[in-house]
């Protein structure tokens, strides 16, 4: 009986008998690299040793762990690439620890040098491990099943019986034929004294699947990197009725890969004809639609499409997404000098699910002082008990604005970039800009300031936020991902296994035919399932399917 200790240390192998023969054979059923052994004192021994270490299973394991660990801060700490404002808030809140964490790239984990080190090491390990494995497997695919071991009783599965009808040759041939029909790879060999053996092997596809998985994983990582280098995304807010063309300057924000040049941006123009949103009774959105006209290339024919969430426009090498929408209130402002700014507008950003939206309108050309308006646009305004305006419905059924007016210097000349959605608070703080009034306005209501300025809320427009993406390697990523799943299914569902049969002629004195048949087998994984299979095969070969075998 197998000892308890064996159970514990080697659960995968408890089904195999303790003998080393069986264990070695099990390992020879995969292309797993041998544990690193120290090469003898040759020159470059350290390099060889290092390489063996890097491509060993153990290192792959450690690197996988490091990868999992390394990703964690990227998911728990704010990341610059996702949300730079949150990073700033975090840094402000943690003045001592923050900068240190920043130095360790903890706010930019996925671009950090140490993160790159982990995945490059893993990648090299993967390739370094794969190349020899592919060679070994290619050899195994062409090789014949190995010779039968001398003693079957040391194999995880073994049995024997006698046959009195035929000689070893015939029985072995019969067995080989049966196994071949079961799609085993079979070879028959003659041993001394008229003994015939059959070696059979099956399930090569398991290792093929495993290699497919690792190769596809490698390809996927490469394709992801290529997409990052040669791809780009740009986002832009487009008002109803307006349009844009695909040039870097037009985007509100543009994130190119390191190898993207201005020329590589495909020409393409579009106009947003009409944005529309529909809502359920409870105020959750049921659909967003952007009706667009576009041209591919510099002067292609005009085409028409409807953008929806989950339904981007896909044209040659580009994808155009509808990511969000919002309102842009329009105002007519008359400054004290008599100058009229008619229907000025700017996109306001939605703050909640009922689209209370915040934004700012800046009039640097107003005289004698620059004028700004900021505040809230409420598509369906209602007053709370405290008298504060809030929106209760995401569609513009009863729009109102709650605004502040400012006069003074907007600080636009300072050169520092300003958010288009808010006024520069520093200018307020240093007194260059002053709040001169506040008011809630309904449609076409006006507000007159002390200096004669009038602000009229004239209505609203809708806008859509669009994103243009290009990722030249995306299709490769998808195909590789498909191969990953296929490879996994093959390597998880299939079992590589070997079977041997030895037919020995019996004592000649005891009758014409008395052939002793011994059978042995082993499987690399899921020995329990193989046990059943082995039993079935044994019964089939004996040609007495109904009766179980009597002894070992």
């Amino acid at each position: 009986m197998t000892t308890v200790d064996d159970d514990r240390q080697d659960p995968q192998r408890v089904d195999t008998s303790v003998g080393t023969v069986a264990v070695d054979s099990v390992d020879s059923l995969s292309t797993k690299p041998a544990p690193p052994v120290m090469p003898p004192g040759r020159r470059f021994a350290w390099a060889i040793r290092g390489w063996r270490w890097l491509t060993s299973m153990r290192t792959a394991l450690v690197l996988l762990f490091l990868l999992a660990l390394g990703v964690i801060p990227g998911s728990l700490l704010p990341q610059r690439s996702l949300n730079p404002q949150k990073v700033d808030t975090y840094l402000a809140a943690h003045p001592t620890l923050g900068p240190l964490m920043d130095k360790l790239s903890l706010f930019n984990v996925f671009g950090a040098p140490w993160f790159a080190a982990i995945y490059i090491l893993l990648f090299v390990s993967l390739i370094g491990c794969l190349v020899p494995r592919i060679r070994v497997h290619a050899r195994a695919l062409r090789a014949q099943p190995p010779k039968a071991p001398r003693h079957f009783h040391r194999l995880p599965e073994s049995t024997s019986y006698e046959n009195t009808e035929a000689g070893p040759r015939e029985l072995a041939d019969r067995a080989a034929a049966t196994l071949r029909r079961g799609r085993w790879r079979v070879v028959t060999r003659d041993e001394a004294d008229g003994v015939v053996t059959v070696s059979a092997e099956k399930g090569y596809l398991r290792e093929t699947g495993n290699l497919l998985f690792h190769i596809a994983l490698t390809v996927l990582l490469l394709a992801v990197a290529a997409g990052r280098l040669w791809g780009y995304t740009g986002s832009i807010i487009v008002m109803d009725g307006n349009g844009f063309c695909n040039t870097v300057q037009q985007y509100d924000s543009f994130n190119p890969g390191e190898l993207v040049s201005g020329q590589s941006i495909a020409p393409f123009c579009m106009t947003l004809n009409k944005f529309s949103a529909t809502y359920d009774k409870d105020g959750t959105a049921s659909s967003f639609k952007g009706d667009i006209t576009y041209t591919e290339g510099v002067s292609g024919p005009q085409k028409h499409d409807v953008l929806q969430v989950n339904h981007p426009l896909r044209i040659e090498g580009l994808r155009l997404y509808l990511l969000g929408h919002g309102f842009a209130p329009t105002f007519t402002v008359k400054d004290p000098s008599g100058q009229v700014f008619k229907n000025v507008s700017a996109p306001f950003l939605p703050q909640d699910s009922a689209y209370s939206s915040q934004g700012a309108i800046k009039l640097p050309d107003a005289k004698p002082k620059q004028i700004a308006i900021d505040g809230l646009f409420l598509p369906t305004a209602a007053e709370t008990q405290k008298g504060v305006l809030t929106s209760i419905w995401p569609q513009a059924t009863a729009p109102k604005v709650a605004i502040f007016a400012y006069e003074g210097n907007l600080g636009l000349d300072s050169g520092a970039p300003q958010s288009v959605y808010s006024i520069d608070r520093d200018q307020l703080a240093n007194g260059a800009l002053k709040q001169v009034g506040r008011k809630n306005l309904g449609p076409n209501q006006s507000y007159k300031l002390a200096d004669g300025t009038t602000i009229t809320f004239t209505g609203y427009k809708e806008w859509a936020s669009l994103q243009v993406s290009r990722d030249p390697a995306q299709t490769i990523v998808l195909i590789a991902a498909g191969c990953i799943v296929l490879g996994l299914v093959l390597s998880m569902r299939l079992r590589r296994r070997r079977l041997w049969l030895r037919a020995t002629p019996g004592d000649p004195g005891q009758g014409e035919h008395r052939t002793v048949i011994e059978l042995g087998g082993l499987a690399r994984t899921d020995a329990g399932v193989f046990s059943d299979e082995f039993r079935q095969i044994t019964t089939r070969l004996r040609d007495k399917p109904a009766e179980p075998d009597g002894e070992d």
Binding site: P11, D15, V309, R319, S531, D549
Partner: protein, 340 residues
């Protein structure tokens, strides 16, 4: 029947399922507690390390392990056995009943909202638990002697379903437009199935570790493992628990991989990028990498057994963390939890 009435019916059935599972849990727990070491320990000890003997010996023993009915009565302690046996049968019957009622609850929930019934955390929990129960039933068909482990599988299921029905509960509602996609059906169901299967695997793994410990104690005390009258030594052999843990991961891992890939395909259509390091995605990747490490560890000398088992549990912890902490505490693109 109106939509609200359907939703109510679904909730009632959900509650019934919890009750059925809870009673099944107690019943199977009782089988575990009353079952004399005789049957349980013997069948399980025979099962794995001596598979060779089994095959050789053939006959009734072989049918005992592969048959879905219980093995022939043991002569050791027939009275106890019968009691345990009865508890076991009642437990499995309740388990099947619970699963049927649960499946009905899930389907009716789907009908009441006219979409797939896994759009928020409550619904996801419900589906994942159903999968765990079904996965365990499948394990039972293959390895019937593991029946009395049902209590251990049902404990987390009952707790999760209780949390799901109380803390995580969300009214039957429509979903935001980003969720109007058949990818919801595919991506989330693959994730839910993976979750349920990994749950079963982690239970097997914990029991494996308990058993290994019990064996160690037994060896230290110089007694045969089956003689020790501790709960641990009544568990099936370490080998069969380990095999159960491995098989479930081997089945769940490709599915989970498929689920992540479907998520990426969906993200490509909905968010403009197939991968954006959203916290939820990131933790799915962490979970995936850890389970990959588990599979690797099992093939790495020096990492088999205990260490691999611990990796399995870390993987499951990462998945649970993703579900509870990331969904509730950390906001990202995936904020569809349905909680306010």
């Amino acid at each position: 029947m109106g939509t609200t009435a359907l939703a109510h019916l679904s909730n009632t059935l959900y509650a019934f399922a919890i009750v059925a599972y809870a009673v099944a849990m107690i019943s199977l727990g009782a089988e575990y507690a009353y079952g004399r070491r005789g049957r349980v320990a013997r069948t399980s000890a025979v099962a794995a390390p001596e598979a060779k003997v089994l095959v050789g010996a053939g006959g009734p023993d072989v049918t005992a392990t592969s048959d879905s009915v219980t093995p022939p009565t043991d002569d050791d302690a027939p009275r106890d056995l019968n009691l345990a046996e009865r508890f076991g049968r009642v437990g499995v019957a309740l388990l099947i009943l619970g699963a049927l009622v649960h499946a009905a609850a899930v389907s009716i929930r789907g009908a009441s909202v006219d979409r797939v019934p896994w759009g928020n955390m409550y619904e996801f929990t419900s589906v994942a638990c159903l999968v765990a129960v079904v996965a365990f039933l499948v394990v039972l068909i293959r390895q019937p002697k593991l029946r009395f482990l049902g209590g251990f599988v049902l404990l987390p299921v009952v707790v999760l379903m209780f949390l799901g029905g109380t803390v995580l509960y969300a009214q039957a509602e429509q979903l935001v437009p980003a969720l109007h996609s058949y990818w919801l059906a595919i991506h989330v169901s693959a994730a839910a199935v993976g979750t349920g299967i990994f749950l079963v695997s982690s239970v097997g793994t914990i029991l494996y570790l308990v058993r290994v410990h019990a064996d160690k104690v037994a060896v230290a005390e110089g007694t045969e493992p089956s003689r020790v009258r501790s709960l641990g030594s009544r568990l099936p052999s370490a080998a069969s628990l380990d095999r159960m843990a491995y098989r479930t991961v081997a089945f769940g891992f490709p599915l989970y991989t498929f689920g992540i890939i479907c998520g990426a395909i969906w993200a490509e259509a909905a968010w403009g990028k197939y991968w954006s390091w959203d916290p939820k995605e990131t933790w799915a990747l962490i979970t995936w990498v850890i389970y990959a490490a588990y599979l690797h560890a099992r093939a790495t000398a020096g990492w088999k057994g205990n260490k691999a088992a611990v990796i399995n549990l870390i993987g499951f912890t990462a998945m649970i963390f993703n579900f509870f902490v990331i969904n509730i505490v950390v906001s990202g693109l995936h904020s569809y939890a349905g909680l306010n």
